[in-house]
Symmetry: C2
Amino acid sequence: MANTPVDSIPARRVLTDPAGLARYQHDEAEWAPYGTPIAVVRPQSTEEVRDVVRHCLAHRIPVVPRGAGTGLSGGANAVDGAIVLSFEDMNRIVHIDAAERLAVVQPGVVNDDLRAACAEHGLWYPPDPASSPWSTIGGNVATNAGGMCCVKYGVTRDYVLGLEVVNGLGEVVSLGRRTAKGVAGYDLAGLMVGSEGTLGVITEITVRLRPARPQERTVAGYFGSVVAAGEAVTAVTASGVIPSALELVDRHCLAAVDAWKKMGLSADADVVLLGRVDTPGAEGDAEAELVRGCFERAGATWAAVSTDQQEADALFQARRLAYPALERLGPVLTEDVCVPRTAVPEMLARIERTAARHDILVANIAHAGDGNLHPLIITPPGDEAARARAQLAFEDILDDAIALGGTVTGEHGVGLLKMRGMRKELGPAVLGMHHAVKAALDPHGILNPGKVLDSGPAAVV
Amino acid sequence: MANTPVDSIPARRVLTDPAGLARYQHDEAEWAPYGTPIAVVRPQSTEEVRDVVRHCLAHRIPVVPRGAGTGLSGGANAVDGAIVLSFEDMNRIVHIDAAERLAVVQPGVVNDDLRAACAEHGLWYPPDPASSPWSTIGGNVATNAGGMCCVKYGVTRDYVLGLEVVNGLGEVVSLGRRTAKGVAGYDLAGLMVGSEGTLGVITEITVRLRPARPQERTVAGYFGSVVAAGEAVTAVTASGVIPSALELVDRHCLAAVDAWKKMGLSADADVVLLGRVDTPGAEGDAEAELVRGCFERAGATWAAVSTDQQEADALFQARRLAYPALERLGPVLTEDVCVPRTAVPEMLARIERTAARHDILVANIAHAGDGNLHPLIITPPGDEAARARAQLAFEDILDDAIALGGTVTGEHGVGLLKMRGMRKELGPAVLGMHHAVKAALDPHGILNPGKVLDSGPAAVV
């Protein structure tokens, strides 16, 4: 072993130069701290991952698994002295089984690539995080990623049948199953989902697929306030229709997209709600009309079922562009609270008051149908005072979400940014159970240490 | 404390007389062993459950939680010296929240009672184990119960949002959430589901609900062999239609139902497949026709979409009656293997060969659309030789399911009957992880000991 930390990995797939390491130091959570790894290893097989984990076990080196680095909580951020395991070279779709409606993939497969490959078989992999053009299935599983269609089709967790994992003892294990059902033992595959690399390193994923997605209708509504839009969301839930998307984009996002792409959206609305309905046939047409009616009764200034696919796509494109458009204005501190659906209007009102109280810009995009809000706190570049105010606003929003019966993270994960919020949300007894599970499955504490949980029960307050 | 083992529980809800204890010694797994408890306690509140668990912790007494006792694997069987916690008096539907589409219930609520209460709000709790008229939500959660509509709507796990649990330290904890999404920490609520009382005692359950169920169409098909019926199942899966039920009933079941209820079913068919389709409108009509076509092309001797609700209900009633009808013939050893859907014909063929090889009667009912088969091994009362042959057949069926990529239990749980099969299915490394999790969350080993897992890692082979 010359300049590689693990004998079996060719040196060309082991980065140790400062420039190389720098590219793998953090994910997209700009506000989260990060350290300097001793090496970045790009494994090409499960055996290589196992070898790295065993090397790290022998030398008590932290292992930080990393997908595409699109995370928003710092979960993949390097810690000092760690080896970062980057899965970009394990990007093979091993197998799509149309008869069983499942796919077996390596963790580095990009979400949209899997979706495209499934479509060729007349199948559909639903989980659709906004990062789907770049983020990987491994990262999606590690964070239990959500997306726009979860409101009807569930989150990544609902599609994971089985996982191959290198566990905290350096063993390669198969968790879960390939069958539609199964209750032989504890749901350890489910436990791995959303554990952010702290309980095992995922090396292969078996996902459940659905038949090809039905055609969607789009229902758009313009509103004069976020609160009115929130009331429309509550009305849709009460109507019994389950939309295949129900997204909210506020005026700050619309303005940022307009400033960048000249789409002229912000002239027409303070807040846009975008619903989709994919129930087939006349029933679906009726459901779309019902959603439109909910929008109107909640006070929409304009609401329509779109018959123009191009127009509908442009509206959803604006929603997808909101985040990068806001990033052009300065560093974005991304929130991810989730509240009961009926609490969406109240949560949005509280966010507005929080922004005013701290004199800070907070834009809102939201998977509104799930109650999953993404307040985006933006500060001018270099403005340290604003940055301090932003952090106060961030914590206030978490407190409000907990007070309304919600959670500090709906789909982005705890990583580093939500550790304090999670402690408040769960309380000491549940945290104690977390630490017990972590110690049981990672007895030597090498798996992504310091993420999700503080390093030991002693740190819990 | 006079004759009660826990001071705070009134004596009238503590049974210690032999006749009283005998009624709580075992579930419906006739072939599983059971011991004699020192007491049966019927708690009425979370605090009482907590008091019992703390008493058991202090005195190192095993705790065996028990729902309605309808389990089929011995998971609720008493062990010698245990306290059985029977939840029949904690049977309150605490709250149905139509706006959030969720219900909060105590563990002793009967499945059908919850379904009926939801229907009054225009809502639906999908999980529908065959035991739904008697089994309780607590037991359903503990075993991650399935049922007929899982093929489209998933299992109990998919509906559990949050759990209140008394953990292995005697603490009352809230796991999971009330929101549609949430990733704050490990999925400990999911880990509890299907853990059969070995990781915590469930005292309250928050379940997700769906809007009222749409009307179903029934598609029935008669087949000359289980293998032809299995091929029809594979064809339905490949068609892209997701039926809301796809059940198989073989000639032994039909004959037993006929002998009991004189329905005249077995004269017409060797095997009946019962499909249901609940997609609304013309699209659903088309799907039902597609399913019928799949039946015919696989060689159905008769196949039709039922327009007669009474006739359709009679067929499904026959399916529900199969198990009690077979029990009239002698002790039933119930299997619960689940195989990949495409392996259903091969698995059914192997079961036929196993029955012939061991000269034993094996009847089949199956959630065929999930690949979840229930071979029912029946022996004449008192025939010890047949009983020995039945046990050989039981193990052969498990081995065949594993060989075909399946699992030893699709929905009934491991309990006592599937411990050996589970060890074979999972292998030593995954079992080691199970023992680590068990030791982490039940450090004193009082929670339903000896179920699912042997008492300690040393016992694992």
